[in-house]
Symmetry: C2
Subunit: 163 residues, 2 copies
DNA sequence: CAACATAGTGAAGGGGCATCACGACATGAC
DNA sequence: GTCATGTCGTGATGCCCCTTCACTATGTTG
């Protein structure tokens, strides 16, 4: 319609990349015996150091109850432990075991390797242009906040999905 | 390490975009009373026309059993129906109801709107550069096939996650 | 027609996620 | 110091996605 063809193309490419990358990450994680959610928790823990479950719940934007389950699983596989909080006896500090720390370090290395392979041989100015374009798109997304919601509201005012 | 800084930046931007876009799509869908999986099925149906569940299972790359459940849900919400296959009495043809067709059409419109907002005011050459960059990255991903797996294998030969 | 392949589904189970209710603890007010 | 109130984590339930295995009803082929 009013959307220029190359915009649609760009959108398609982004969606395709979204699919491909997230699929690949999921496969790689499961090859290491991890799931997306558990890896996400590990990642957050890696960047924050020992944390309470409440903090992790806020960081992962999931319910505290869910964190309990994820931590249970990671404890069961020996990647983290629950340590008592030094001052607050209600809270527990989720902490890496040696294996957990090693696995997280490996994840970080893998990511580096992934980035290296991904852009290997790609001209610098092309990478720069890519980053600029992505930044533009991201800025636009943040700015609009609601993004698609806004689009939907603009496209068909006053509709409601049956529930 | 050997990874140039701007490569890491580019990778980060891509990951961020992946997160933001998929989150947004999920939110938008659930606002319409849909889940990712069910919307995906609807989308596939939209592009293929009435299909057997087997075909949908292959298209979505999930087990046939799972399709049964998804179709059940879509039938329950009145978006599709199960019609008998004209020649094969084992199979059923999943078909849109009017509401289902309308909702799918709305999804397509929303996507157009989304693309429009996303790239509105962005210079053409910038969009072109973005598409070129994304194409490069996608090509590299397809070429490598295993992507991260390859990276992992190269980075730490002979490791196995405890299971 | 017998032998074999295929479409769909019941049963059972692994995860992710949410809400509600509740007990253990922290804290500020009195 | 005691008491109201808020917070941390978790048991109980329930929804959704997804899988494998077993089984029925049909197609297909020799």
């Amino acid at each position: 319609m009013t959307t220029p063809p190359h915009h649609a193309v760009a959108f398609d490419r982004i969606l395709e990349l979204v699919i491909v990358v997230s699929d690949d990450m999921t496969r790689t994680l499961s090859a290491q015996g991890l799931t997306d959610a558990r890896a996400h928790l590990l990642w957050e823990l890696h960047h924050r150091g020992p944390s309470t479950q409440r903090v992790l719940a806020d960081a992962l934007r999931v319910s505290p109850r869910n964190i309990t389950g994820l931590v249970d699983a990671l404890v069961a596989t020996g990647l983290v432990t629950r340590e008592p909080h030094p001052t607050d006896r209600r809270a527990t500090l989720v902490t890496f075991t040696e294996r957990g720390a090693a696995m997280t370090a490996a994840m970080e290395r893998d990511q580096q390797e992934f980035a290296r392979i991904l852009f290997a041989g790609m001209p610098d100015d092309r990478v720069t242009a890519l980053v600029d374009g992505l930044d533009d798109v991201l800025a636009r997304l943040k700015e609009h906040g609601l993004t698609v919601d806004a689009a939907r509201a603009a496209a068909n005012p006053g509709n409601e999905a049956g529930r």
